[in-house]
């Protein structure tokens, strides 16, 4: 028996090795949310990001202009302000007073620079050069001067991981600014889409999409993009909307982190609803 096993191992050692290593990889993949895995990742990310930052600053040496960064920051503030004003124009008095209490333009913005990107077709991640030292926390929204870019997913002392809109794992509650039609924005690998919008709802090409009041991840009224295309399903009952983001995610370089964390009370209420 022992001889047989020994022969088996020696004849199929490549396959056995593959199976063992694959099982280890997949079990580690399942343990990603464990504190030990997060700790390991934050140590490695924090140390290696130093190298990335040096390379990144070398690459963007021509772009490192302080005054331009300030202008970008001001632009981002103005973008949020403009969007708020557009909303005021579109909504009735009652909604306006409700939204005034959730003004996104008053949140402080923390400027950050992308130092590395993980580019895959459906797993967009950035590493930015600001971390918990700047009071950045997991769950803070990330924007640029055009609109929403993503969400902080991991934070180390000096660096943070941003899950961007081109990540199929990120779902965002959004609303159409003109008509207040709500939906869930997802990335399907090619486009940002909002699925299952009844065809009876008033949706027009060019409608502005922004974060919804119902979002527990993002504060309301952050501009996301505009409706590029609407397609009906076979029965003609539901629309799938294709959204063109305002922010050029692939070319993004300078970002702003909105210093806000999702309301614990809303999260708690949502958890109670699930229970």
């Amino acid at each position: 028996m022992r001889k047989f096993l020994r022969r088996l191992v020696s004849d199929y050692k490549e396959y056995l090795l593959l199976i063992i290593l694959s099982i280890i990889s997949l079990s580690i993949l399942a343990q990603n949310e464990k504190p030990a895995a997060k700790h390991l990742k934050s140590i490695a990310l924090g140390n290696f990001a130093v190298l990335n930052e040096i390379t990144s600053s070398f690459v963007s040496i021509l772009k490192s202009d302080g005054s331009r960064d300030n202008l970008r920051s001001e632009n981002a503030h103005l973008m949020l302000e403009l969007n708020r004003l557009q909303k005021y124009r579109a909504e009735n008095e009652e909604l306006r007073s409700m939204i005034a209490s959730k003004d996104t333009s008053v949140y402080p913005l923390i400027p950050a620079k992308i130092i590395s990107k993980l580019i895959t077709k459906s797993q967009g991640n950035f590493v930015v050069n600001k971390g918990s030292d700047y009071e950045i926390k997991k769950g803070m929204p990330v924007i640029n001067d055009k609109g929403l870019v993503g969400l902080i997913m991991d934070v180390t002392e000096n660096y943070s991981v941003v899950q961007n809109l081109y990540n199929s794992n990120l779902s965002i509650a959004v609303t159409l600014q003109r008509t207040n039609v709500d939906g869930i924005l997802n990335y399907d690998g090619n486009n940002l889409i909002i699925k299952d919008i009844p065809t009876t709802y008033d949706v027009q090409i060019g409608d502005i999409v922004e974060t919804s009041n119902f979002s527990s991840l993002f504060p309301p009224s952050i501009p996301v993009g505009k409706v590029l295309k609407k397609e009906s399903n076979i029965l003609g009952l539901l629309h799938t909307l294709t959204v063109m983001p305002f922010a050029d995610i692939s070319a993004a370089n300078n970002l702003f982190i909105i210093k806000i964390i999702p309301s614990k009370q809303i999260n708690q209420l949502e958890m109670n609803l699930i229970k």
Binding site: K13, E14, L17, L18, L21, S22, I24, S25, L26, S27, I28, L29, A30, Q31, N32, A37, L40, K41, A44, L45, F48, A49, L51, N52, T55, S56, V59, I115, S116, K117, L118, I119, T120, K121, S122, Q123, G124, N125, V127, M153, D154, V161, Y166, S168, N169, N186, Y187, D188, G189, N190, S250
Partner: protein, 161 residues
Amino acid sequence: MNIQYLKPILFFIPLAVVQLVIVPLISISNIAPNLVFVLIAYFTLRHGQIYGTILGFILGFLLDIISGGLIGAFMFSFTVSSFVVGYFYGENKIDINLSTYFLLFILFICGSINSFLFAVVSSSNSNLSLFFMMLEEGILPGLYTALFGLPIVIFHPKEGI
């Protein structure tokens, strides 16, 4: 750790920086080459299947923890794809594999497998069709990765052929 594994790890460090900082600048519609995989394939074709599988596992783990992605995703995809690269290994075929355009074919096939497996294990979006994943997350990145085998084909000494 075996000294044999130190060399690729030393090459890995600058290559990982390039992968995370420079490669995004040359990505086309979020389709990017994987230079770390080219490194793994190169060493697998030089040292064999078992060596390559272990190297894929180690470098996959390292890339996972420094890229901010899911730990285990590159680990799994590199392990399996470098195992497949190992099938092209032969003690007498090292120079042929590395000095001819056949290397590009190997990189294309195995790079496609690598990108596809990475997409499968790291994406939680069930709306993605298998065809889409095979084409846009497998074949196209595989094709782009294969292009980066050209410097190896051009500069690898062709004495043995």
